[in-house]
């Protein structure tokens, strides 16, 4: 394992944190505006969060290998 691997994993975590934070924040805003659309917003939020997380996990796996 490269000594800089964990550092790269940390940077990937920063990116994913920003991304998922944005998604969650906007989703909560959207739910506050339109409480009746909660189930649709939640589904899309989880899909988007999963996609962002997938990229971050790619980075983590590559960094730790």
């Amino acid at each position: 394992m490269s000594p800089y691997g964990p550092l790269g994993a940390g940077f990937a975590a920063i990116g994913a944190g920003i991304g998922i934070g944005q998604i969650g924040g906007k989703a909560v805003e959207a739910i506050a505006r339109q409480p009746e659309a909660i189930s649709k917003i939640q589904t899309n939020m989880i899909i988007a969060a999963a996609l962002v997380e997938g990229v971050a996990l790619f980075a983590v796996v590559v960094a730790l290998l």
Binding site: S39, T43, I46, I47, A50, L51, E53, G54, L57, F58, V60, V61
Partner: protein
């Protein structure tokens, strides 16, 4: 007046808990001091090694800790034929088992061909088809799933027209959730064909994730945190998506709209075919693996600091992460299913929607 009694008992309970931890702290390194043999060199605790040992597959089923184990059959395919024996022959650690064709030894939970003295030799090429802890656990969870669903479906036959009861009322909302919130919105009209697949994948991932969270008997294995298992699941999804892809799906890949985009878009779309299932594979694998490693690391803090004062902190954090992991267990099963449904939906979509 009763209230004061309850209050007193609450305070008393708190004091009791504090006193318990204080009493524990009076015996620093209690566990270690017993194990240490006189004159033996103290072995340094390696958290990374402990974590890796917890997440890797084993040739024996550890029911409770490392003492109560069930040996599982080892099946090796060598260039001279099959070799079958029980994994207890390889215990205790470092034992060289003399088989029919070669000598075997367990090195880092992997079976290696060794010579008489126990040094790894390169002569024999063995393929390990053993029934490991993961496989035994997968069979157990499969049996449980079969039992659950057969009893629920027979209840539907017997109680036709009546309200659900017992197991039925536990499973029906989940199945309806998969149908109404996962399959139908994402796949569209043809959703019924894919329901058995989506339900199987969802419940298989869910039950194995949940068993992975239990540290002792029914669980104790880490199936969904094994990349071979998630690879197989993702490969099934890859086949389903691409074998069901209609002409719109393939047209989308092989003929992008302006013709001069061909050289850029076709490689990108072909990479996209493979990157979707690979993302499914890595996501489930990394999530479950990371959860296990975090919990083991938090427990390891006690041994890293080598004091029992650390244990309340470490146990509190471990319980906190454990609760989050229970959420992640459901979320990952859901995410795998919904993304599979989404990819299937992209492949079987009838009308090609133009993006404006």
């Amino acid at each position: 007046m009763n209230n004061s009694g309850i209050l007193k008992s609450k305070i008393f309970n708190k004091l009791l808990i504090c006193a318990f931890f204080l009493a524990l702290a009076a015996f620093p390194v209690f566990g270690f001091s017993q194990e240490k043999a006189p004159g033996a060199k103290e072995e340094k605790f390696d958290a990374g090694k402990t974590a890796m040992e917890h997440i890797t597959d084993k040739h024996e089923w550890r029911l409770f800790g490392e003492q109560v184990v069930v040996p599982l059959p080892v099946i090796l395919y060598t260039d001279k034929g099959f070799e079958i024996f029980l994994s207890s022959k390889l215990k205790p650690a470092g034992t060289v088992y003399k088989g029919k064709y070669y000598n075997y030894k367990l090195i880092n939970d992997k079976i290696k061909v060794v010579d008489q003295a126990g040094a790894v030799s390169e002569t024999g090429n063995v393929w390990d088809f053993s029934i490991t802890q993961n496989i035994a656990g997968m069979w157990l969870s499969g049996l449980i799933l079969i039992f659950l669903f057969l009893s629920a479906s027979s209840a539907y036959k017997k109680r036709a027209g009546k309200g659900p009861k017992g197991l039925q009322s536990f499973l029906e909302p989940v199945i309806l959730f998969i149908r109404d919130d996962v399959a139908r919105p994402n796949i569209g009209l043809k959703y019924e064909r894919f329901m058995p697949l989506l339900l199987t994948v969802f419940f298989f991932i869910l039950i194995n994730n949940l068993f992975g969270m239990i540290p002792f008997f029914p669980g104790g294995y880490n199936l969904t945190g094994n990349i071979a298992v998630t690879f197989t699941l993702a490969f099934v999804m890859f086949l389903v998506v691409n074998l069901n892809g209609n002409k719109y799906y393939w047209k989308h890949i092989f003929s992008p709209n302006p013709w001069w985009l061909f050289p850029i878009m076709i490689p990108v779309e072909i990479v996209g075919i493979f990157s979707k299932p690979i993302a499914l594979m890595i996501r489930l694998f990394a999530n479950m693996l990371a959860g296990h490693i975090v919990i083991v690391s938090l427990i390891s803090l006690i041994f890293i600091f080598n004091t029992l004062w650390m244990s309340p902190v470490s146990v509190a954090f471990a319980v906190f992460i454990d609760v989050i992991e229970v959420l992640v267990v459901f979320l990952q099963a859901y995410v795998f299913t919904i993304l599979s449904a989404l990819f299937i939906g992209m492949a079987v979509e009838e009308h090609h929607h133009e993006v404006i």
